[in-house]
Symmetry: D2
Subunit: 281 residues, 4 copies
Amino acid sequence: MALTRGLTRMGLGDVGSNERFVKLAREYGFQAVDLNDVLGWVEAEGKETALAVLAETGVAIGSIGLPVEWRSTEERFRSDLTKLAATAAAAAELGCTRCCTYVLPATDLNAAHFMALATRRLRTCADILGAYGIRFGLEYVGPHHLRTRWANPFVWTLDQTNDWIDAIGAPNVGLLLDSYHWYTTGQTADELAALRADQIVHVHINDAPDVPVEEALDNGRLYPGEGVIDLPAFLQALQRTGYSGPISQEILTQSPPTAPAEELLSRSKAGFDKVFAAAGL
Amino acid sequence: MALTRGLTRMGLGDVGSNERFVKLAREYGFQAVDLNDVLGWVEAEGKETALAVLAETGVAIGSIGLPVEWRSTEERFRSDLTKLAATAAAAAELGCTRCCTYVLPATDLNAAHFMALATRRLRTCADILGAYGIRFGLEYVGPHHLRTRWANPFVWTLDQTNDWIDAIGAPNVGLLLDSYHWYTTGQTADELAALRADQIVHVHINDAPDVPVEEALDNGRLYPGEGVIDLPAFLQALQRTGYSGPISQEILTQSPPTAPAEELLSRSKAGFDKVFAAAGL
Amino acid sequence: MALTRGLTRMGLGDVGSNERFVKLAREYGFQAVDLNDVLGWVEAEGKETALAVLAETGVAIGSIGLPVEWRSTEERFRSDLTKLAATAAAAAELGCTRCCTYVLPATDLNAAHFMALATRRLRTCADILGAYGIRFGLEYVGPHHLRTRWANPFVWTLDQTNDWIDAIGAPNVGLLLDSYHWYTTGQTADELAALRADQIVHVHINDAPDVPVEEALDNGRLYPGEGVIDLPAFLQALQRTGYSGPISQEILTQSPPTAPAEELLSRSKAGFDKVFAAAGL
Amino acid sequence: MALTRGLTRMGLGDVGSNERFVKLAREYGFQAVDLNDVLGWVEAEGKETALAVLAETGVAIGSIGLPVEWRSTEERFRSDLTKLAATAAAAAELGCTRCCTYVLPATDLNAAHFMALATRRLRTCADILGAYGIRFGLEYVGPHHLRTRWANPFVWTLDQTNDWIDAIGAPNVGLLLDSYHWYTTGQTADELAALRADQIVHVHINDAPDVPVEEALDNGRLYPGEGVIDLPAFLQALQRTGYSGPISQEILTQSPPTAPAEELLSRSKAGFDKVFAAAGL
């Protein structure tokens, strides 16, 4: 039981195919990658090939992204939903037990009505994922500028998200925690540490620039250890909850980095080395 | 299978004890009464006495009010919830199969967060009521002045309420329809008639004064047939859905009527006679 | 609101493609057909073509069969489940609002454990169907010989099935009633009439040979009106519940009939004419 | 996060009032007690008094028993259910987060039908408990003699119970593990260690006499460390899951022990000292 190091494709430039991404992750000391197209991988290369790559490298799939747009029309939701079970089946076959989606902090719709629609739609997604042994993580999004980007406030705090998870009411729904949202919503380490491990499905780790917290942009993230977030405290708080699983970097930037993937991976590794060491992990 | 005539205490002045209320209802040709204190009645008079009054008069209990405040704090909700099962048990023993609550169209809380809290709380109520064979009706509230009475819009239309019922996701939750809210939300008879009977738990009937619809006050209601709502069309639309059950008057006024109960009951009877006849019922 | 006449392919010999089946149904006075391959139809012919055939004939799709085997292994269930959402989407696009599955009255598995597995699996199916506005009907199966065909008794009565539906707990699950199972489980018309309309998702109609009821075989069914079941009483009881929807014939026989489809359809029509007339419909 | 030492009243003779029980527990080095009458305690002594006793001793309430008989008639269930919310409220006010019930391995009812009834009833209980932040543990019961004590087999293994928990489908339902049932169902330590911590609500610890496992009687239990169960392996397996919470002794015997409570508590303490030390805890 431990916190493991994970990657998303965000912030790594072009890491190529899933196979190359997995092998690079391994090379730079990461134990998990988050993928968005497991079904495509399995359909194109075959389950056995994908499993062999994972087995050979010892890298796990940390999480898949939800292939269903639940924030738009009912038609779009119904159409996307047709592919969820096959995606979940492919992920489960590759040993993945997490699927995540993010929640924007504001909406142009009537906020209460949208909450009702979203609750029903996400419960349906959770039920399908649950049939394949996959847990479903909701990521609240903290940056201040997004809270007023659309007409009506939605939810963006840990407590609100936990209340929403209770409203959804499915046993396999929990939190995707991101240090960037922890920081931009002004939470303490103790608030984080008060969670039960089973409330946490997945974790993202990112750093923030040295600007007033109200000005930290969602796509202005830094590599772990390069900014002002107290990431050792974040990691120690997670450790205190008993959470065991991947901590995945997801560097959203205004434009994609242009450096070679190897350079960016090396930088990421250095960041993880720094903050994990500072946390005593 | 038929639409039956029902009463609430609202608009009748002082009709006394539940026993007197039931007997008066019978005397003026009503087949159902909505009660708010069935548990008190059973505890004070005994189940057998209450059942005897109902059997002797042939009057049914149309619905009980929800004895749980779900719009306030979690502490209040938890405290009130301790009495729900006993209330539901008493209602079920008296043959009642409906419990209802109303939904204000605005809130001072974050609307999305409150929707999440309310969804979870009402599902818990529904589950408890369901254990006693009781269905749970949600009444959306249409008057325009209430939509801006609190800071943030909540939900107040038929479609929004149906979406919320889907979000709650319990098999025994449906609509309490009120002609006053049907009128103040500008719905057509065809929209009403498009409902399935099983979506409707209970019905209220009231009339509105001849003022612009935007100015119709929630507590400015008239007796059926004394105002401008097309109540025959309302009743015919309900008939088309296949709904079978009580249609209960609930005259909310700025100050309680001071006339004797018998006079108010007589007036109510005349109103029902008029609109039921006009509807061909 | 009415009981309409429906057909399944069982007992009709070779009625050809879905298009031909629909047109024959229309020709012989039927208003609904149950189909098992709507997704295949839509994929092969296109949604517009299928919709045009239905619109031109005025025939509705009464129900689709559940394309998921929930009685076998978890692997099989997970694999089948990947196609349910797409099937439900296709059915919904063609206006179908019902999906049904049957329940065998005995099992070789531990009955309690199988009930737990089946409850969870069918709830997942119900949730997916519900996302497309489709209700899910469970058909209990009455013939005595099947109750001992496998080692352990499961459930086979109306009351047990209703209790199971409550255990599944999804708002869109109800009964598929079949006159053959009504007859072989020895129920009265009053027991049937005591159901609420919303408890009934779909109805099958079949007749039984003049043998002791314990000897009526599941695949020994007769066309309506050719046997000993009091089908007028069955139809009148359904009418009393307020049920509105198709009544579909499903003639299971030891070997498929060899007569031309037109002859079998004509015979079916005569049977419906007889029992519907006797029921006063 | 640690495994703590807990007591039930079973096996301790007369430990008197809850207050005395709590103080004795403290005196003999236990950190938790399971209570069955928290509502009575709060009603008789007041919440503040009870809280003071707990605060003063540092002893927690490990679990309460479910005050609802769900194995009998619907009438009994409905009647008992009226007291559950108040009991849960009292438990929550005293800081308790667990409620448990046991599952007999056989039944005189149709096993599948009873499973359906029990699934629905326990889900209702779980929903009410969940409103007060209380988790609900189901204890499967392993002794062989009970499997044939009633006519039809029900469920009695870890895997079956987990499948049932999935069928119940509430987020706050999990396992009450008991070393006696772990032993009598022949499970390995690795099977136990494969559980996720969040699947475990509560744990009982007991020892078994040196008889063939098939002859170990449910009410023939020994104090920890006095019998043949590999309790260090049991505790280590729990530790590996990440479970954090009480391990409570529950010595069911054919007749209650007659020795003074202090002697029995001392014996219990010695047993815990022995097996916790052997487990390296």
